[in-house]
């Protein structure tokens, strides 16, 4: 039972981190109609910025600030230089141009930091376990769940309760109209893109402290985030949250249950490897099933 609760918490933790990635992607797609493969690169930029600042200053908080700032700045720069030219293009051009950006970002970061992974330490205040009723759980992972939920609430507040949120939602519905009403649509787009980038960078830094910080770390997460927004429905933040939790839980619980089930029919180490990989397959089966049933995702419209 304690193991089950712990694994559910792990699933929620990886789910909320996926949500940080997926929220940015879904906003960018919903508002600008852009499919951004380079979102994983911004995750990586955040993680590298955090690792570099943490090793220079020793402060985790400064590292997080650096991750947010570096990813937002990289996002704004890329938006102004490249992405802006892609809004009117078809999806194929968007896929290619952002694939090109992945190549540039990945190899550029490898050029600067080298091929070896960097390490980002969990801050002392958050390391070690915490008692949660009957079980002990990692304090840091619990903090990640908290941060993720706070960011989710913040995003709902931003999109539903503020003036800029009204503009974002109006931009999804009818971009010509809000431009005609005097909203500077170019600045709004840059803002949304930088916001999405900052969320991705934050996720990269936070997850980078549990895993290693290396080139190529962003793309597996990017693909999972795509699965999340396909499941949730493109453009829906609520869908992104639900989809992220579903994917996180499927991945984590499948990763425990499948090796256990397979160990009945094969030896333990083979069952571990096969089960963990099959749990990944389970995510895509979940996605295919949901799409077969609802081709626009759980909360998609149109």
């Amino acid at each position: 039972m304690a193991l089950l609760i712990e694994q559910v918490l792990n699933g929620v933790q990886s789910g909320v981190m996926l949500f940080l990635m997926a929220a940015g992607l879904t906003l960018i797609f919903g508002v600008m109609g852009l499919i951004n493969l380079a979102h994983g690169s911004l995750y990586m930029v955040g993680a590298f910025a955090a690792a570099a600042v943490a090793s220079a200053t020793g402060s985790f908080l400064l590292a997080l600030v650096a991750a947010l700032a570096a990813a937002a700045a990289a996002g704004a720069l890329v938006e102004v230089l490249v992405i802006r030219r892609l809004y009117a293009r078809d999806h194929l051009d968007q896929v290619l141009a952002t694939f090109a950006l992945i190549l540039i970002f990945s190899e550029g970061v490898r050029w600067i930091f080298g091929s070896f992974p960097l390490f980002l330490d969990i801050p002392a205040a958050l390391s070690g376990p915490v008692m949660l009723g009957p079980i002990t759980y990692s304090k840091y992972r619990l903090a990640l769940i908290g941060i993720g939920l706070v960011v989710a609430l913040g995003l709902f507040w931003l999109t539903q309760r503020t003036r800029i949120g009204v503009q974002i939602r109006a931009g999804e519905a009818d971009r010509e109209m809000i431009a005609a009403l005097g909203v500077d649509i170019g600045r709004l787009y840059t803002f949304v893109f930088a916001l999405g980038a900052a969320l991705a960078g934050l996720a990269g830094a936070l997850v980078g402290a549990i895993q290693s910080v290396q080139v190529g770390m962003g793309e597996p997460v990017l693909i999972l985030a795509f699965v999340v927004i396909v499941i949730g429905g493109i453009g829906s933040i609520k869908g992104a949250l639900v989809g992220a939790l579903l994917v996180g839980l499927t991945d984590t619980l499948g990763g425990v249950a499948l090796p256990a089930a397979l160990s009945l029919v094969m030896d333990l180490s083979a069952a571990q490897a096969t089960g963990a990989a099959l749990a990944q397959v389970g995510i895509y089966v979940l996605m295919a099933a949901i799409l077969f049933w609802r081709p626009r995702g759980l909360y998609g419209h149109g």
């Binding site: 797609f29 499919i35 493969l37 490249v82 030219r85 999806h91 194929l92 051009d93 896929v95 290619l96 141009a97 694939f99 090109a100 950006l101 992945i102 190549l103 540039i104 990945s106 190899e107 550029g108 490898r110 050029w111 793309e219 693909i223 795509f226 699965v227 927004i229 396909v230 493109i234 083979a270 490897a273 096969t274 089960g275 963990a276 990989a277 099959l278 990944q280 397959v281 895509y284 089966v285 996605m287 295919a288 799409l291 077969f292 081709p295 626009r296 995702g297």
Partner: protein, 325 residues
Amino acid sequence: MAERWINAGLLAGLGLVALWAWAAGAPFTVTLATKVAILALAAAGLNLALGIGGLVSLGHAVFFGIGGYAMGVLASHAQAYDPIFTRPFVFEGTKSMPFIWLAAIAVGALAAWVIGRISLRTSGVYFIMITLAFGQMFYYLAISWPAYGGEDGLSIYVRNGFPGLDTLDPIQFFGICFAILLIVLWCMARIAASPFGLALNAARQAPTRVMASGIDPDRLRLWAFVVSGAVTGLAGALYADLNRFVSPTMFSWQVSGELIVLIILGGVGRLCGPVAGAALFVVLEQWLGGLSEYWQVFLGLLLLAVVLAGRGGIVGLLARVPSRG
């Protein structure tokens, strides 16, 4: 310049480079030319779905990898003298290329049919993401399959045989791949000019009008996707034979991305766009890769320039007519 002369020049050029390298005693260059022919074949498969059908598949590595594994599974069982299964009938592996090709085409087409049935329920950006997700699914399936090497992949000691030829001789293996490329390109030209191809092209440009003519665009797209998967599967079997090695990286999403890149560099929807794109890609990989370990930065910048400046690709640039894309 007329496009057909450019096509003839490109194909003749590829053949001549290989012959010249063989005569000059440069087997590595022959192998590079073989790689160009195989990548061009894989991209030619995708070009039918993407260029003519307008289906932006970011998961064509599935078919490339499946073709590779078809070869790997058949050949590894044959070299171990171990039948693949014995019930209900004995099914032996094989080291014979024609049988391996048939198997690769069949499993490629079957996978494309299943994936197409599910993915074509959606369109646009959903289609891109779903094909990408299927690519990842197969990637993890290949890793999780310990019987065939798991993450380490499968090696084949001797290249598979073709009746009457020594396939380990680089120029003879090039000849096989080049001949297949020519046959497939000829078929692609026939398909593009056939009623099916014309309707498929129309279904991309004006699906409503196609439906109004009593044709179901989704059926056309599914068939295009199946043929596309079969051709890319065949290319995967040849690619695995070229390297005598197959591993889950053939399924990786980068491969899917690179196949699209080949088409874009060459020219979308153009018959020999994949050949031009594959040649440029291999030349860049060798040349820039020799200059800098980080050559993909420059590939990325070049790709960005091609996309932002317009989509004719090399063939479009030479033909100086607007792209059909």
